[in-house]
């Protein structure tokens, strides 16, 4: 089936597999975490609608930090696909 597998071909294959694993598992945490943040922001705004802007800003800052691990996964996956 795979008659002549060279070393570089093997490395390439594992890099692609790693890219999929990396982005797949790496997306779980930020997705759940950012949803929590959005939910809590809605809860806060329902208590004090006059602070909507402040709460939305805080939500976005918190989500941006949470997003960073998702972006790390994306960067690592892209490096594995296009650089390695």
């Amino acid at each position: 089936m795979f008659d002549q597998i060279t070393g570089s071909e093997l490395i390439r294959a594992f890099a692609l597999l790693g890219a999929g694993l990396c982005m797949g598992f790496g997306a779980i945490g930020p997705g759940i975490g950012e949803g929590f943040a959005a939910g809590k922001a809605c809860e806060g705004i329902s208590r004090s609608p006059e602070h909507a802007n402040l709460l939305t800003r805080t939500m976005l800052v918190g989500q941006a930090v949470s997003e960073s691990t998702g972006i790390y996964s994306l960067v690592v996956a892209l490096l594995l696909i296009f650089v390695v």
């Binding site: 779980i28 949803g35 939910g39």
Partner: protein, 318 residues
């Protein structure tokens, strides 16, 4: 050795085993909350019992799909030349088994909150039940996607000689199965909170339904991405080149879009749930809550989009 029949039986076992988890837990939660509610309001026991059975029946549908797919796998004809190969059959089983997890759990969680709601405010029973049913119906969509992909895999035609094409069929099932988990559970969580909100403020019923549906629609995106990639994998041509890196790209593609969709689906569901409770507390501010929910959900969806992009890039490298 008849590897085709062997893999069909393996697929059938995985399908029903995994497919029973979500509905089992979800319906247990419903039953538990119905009992708690009856303890508080013994006078409405019979209405609670009726609602519990309706809610559980909808949550059950995901595992009924799993039962149907297992039966198709067990009683298929594997001696004919048009029979699908082992990879497609195991893929079909995994697809429906994993795909029933989120919808079963989500449907049960929605019904559980509705039980508490009916107990709290028996006068709002009809409205609570209808919000629950609408929400549960949306939460079942990912399991219907999985059912469709499983059927495509089972009835998709004869096994090919190309191992990459066969792995693509297996991974298309894996992608759709995992991709359905988050959207099913997330939509169920938001349906539950909307039912709870309806019992607290029955007058805000139509606003709660629209907030819930908008939130659930966003929570469904990861399942739609998974369906799309899974169909692309099913239609990979038979002539694809057989290299180790194509095999790795196929596996990576399915895992990326499937597993990557779990978090964003659940997260978007959480956001929609809190938005629904906020609308119940203060229906006049509905637009503000929906706006905040959508902003937050959009950020939470970004990781699902990254996963889709990586999957599509990997698919192009095959």
């Amino acid at each position: 050795m008849d590897t085709v029949a062997l893999s069909a039986y393996l697929g059938a076992g995985l399908c029903m085993g995994l497919g029973a988890i979500g509905a089992g837990i979800g319906e247990g939660l419903t039953g538990g909350d119905a009992a708690r509610s009856m303890d508080r309001q013994p006078a409405v026991s019979s209405r609670l019992m009726r609602n519990m059975l309706i809610g559980q029946a909808v949550a059950e549908s995901a595992s009924i799909f799993a039962l149907v797919v297992s039966m198709l796998l067990i009683f298929g004809d594997y001696s004919s030349p048009t029979s699908p190969g082992p990879a497609a059959l195991i893929g079909a089983g995994l697809c429906m088994g994993l795909g029933a997890l989120g919808s079963g759990l989500g449907g049960g969680m929605a019904a559980a909150e509705a039980m508490m709601g009916v107990g709290r405010n028996p006068g709002a029973e009809r409205r609570v039940t209808s919000v629950m049913l609408i929400g549960q119906a949306v939460a079942q969509t990912p399991s219907i996607f999985s059912f469709v992909v499983s059927l495509l895999l089972i009835f998709g035609g004869a096994e090919t000689a190309n191992p990459i094409k066969e792995s693509a069929l297996l991974m298309s099932g894996v992608a759709m199965g995992f991709g359905a988990i988050g959207s099913g559970a997330g939509s169920g969580i938001s349906a539950g909170r909307a039912s709870d909100g309806t019992s607290k403020r029955p007058a805000a019923y139509s606003k709660l339904i629209s907030t819930m549906l908008v939130g659930q629609a966003v929570a469904q995106t990861p399942a739609v991405f998974a369906l799309m990639v899974s169909l692309l994998l099913i239609f990979v041509p038979d002539t694809v080149s057989v290299t180790l890196s194509s095999l790795a790209a196929v596996i990576g593609c399915g895992i990326s879009v499937g597993v990557g969709g779990i978090g964003p689906g659940i997260g978007a569901g959480f956001a929609a749930a809190e938005a629904a409770s906020a609308v119940a507390k203060n229906p006049l501010k509905e637009t503000l809550f929906v706006r905040t929910m959508l902003t937050g959900q959009a950020v939470a969806q970004s990781t699902a989009i990254y996963a889709l992009v990586i999957a599509l890039v990997l698919l192009r490298l095959i």
